[in-house]
Symmetry: C2
Subunit: 173 residues, 2 copies
Amino acid sequence: MSDVKVESLLINYKTLEDFKQFQAYGHQELSMLEDLQNNIVENNSKSPFYGIYYGNRLVARMSLYERSKKFDHYFNPPQDYLVLFKLEVLPDYRKHGYGKMLVDYAKSFNLPIKTNPFINSHGFWEKMGFERASYNIERDLGENPFIWMPPGVKEAIRPIQLNDETYMSDGKQ
Amino acid sequence: MSDVKVESLLINYKTLEDFKQFQAYGHQELSMLEDLQNNIVENNSKSPFYGIYYGNRLVARMSLYERSKKFDHYFNPPQDYLVLFKLEVLPDYRKHGYGKMLVDYAKSFNLPIKTNPFINSHGFWEKMGFERASYNIERDLGENPFIWMPPGVKEAIRPIQLNDETYMSDGKQ
């Protein structure tokens, strides 16, 4: 493991081909591919992904996105925070600490972090020092938010009050 | 199939026990259970879930939540719409049309619908008449939104422009 490190991933055909190995390949990757094909993004421009190569092979990745404090419904006081998503290590490369390396990298920005784990990965996030956020249907819908907070940051107690939002009332409209 | 129908599910200990059979059991269900135990919600109060019973057994479910048009970043013109999540049929009861029954029920409200499918279920949503929404990282992050629109509704072309939101810039902050 001494020769592996977390790298910022660039958008190019090789990276996008590497991404197909990951289960969570979806709209985001398709959109990046289309933008590259249509010259909407330049080859080797920066992507929101970070990854770990083992030799030439991309074996782990995650995406990080910074949200401004005006959209913060998780933390107290409200502040800029990171959304971490698509953290995934290829099956043959698990149990080597690559997931933890990526999470530690995300924590090194010293901003609170919110993630919505894949099913059956809640134990991993607890080991990483994340905690289950209080569920709020208006904010979370089908998500299972886990959050990590640097010292001095707390969870927002009453996460949000959105008006005019209800789940379906009885009967059809 | 003639004797099964879509039912609105009530919050009680039986329903919450039934929910444990479903893979997407998470914060939402835990929160409902805690609220019931703490008498924050009444027994048999309405839940945001709809389901199908086969005899006494809950074999399929989904959650529906209505978002007001002021939070609509998907449709043109902006309007009230439904978010559909946690659609799931228990493995032994698949291929009987229960998933389609639930989706048809959601469509019967005649509001546009947005969902974020589980990995590997994109084909199902296309069969249901949903289409892949244009990806927008600010709005979608790790989601793969699929949308369904009743006649007269279109996808919002330029979904959103949120200010002050970027993915991580080069280097640490």
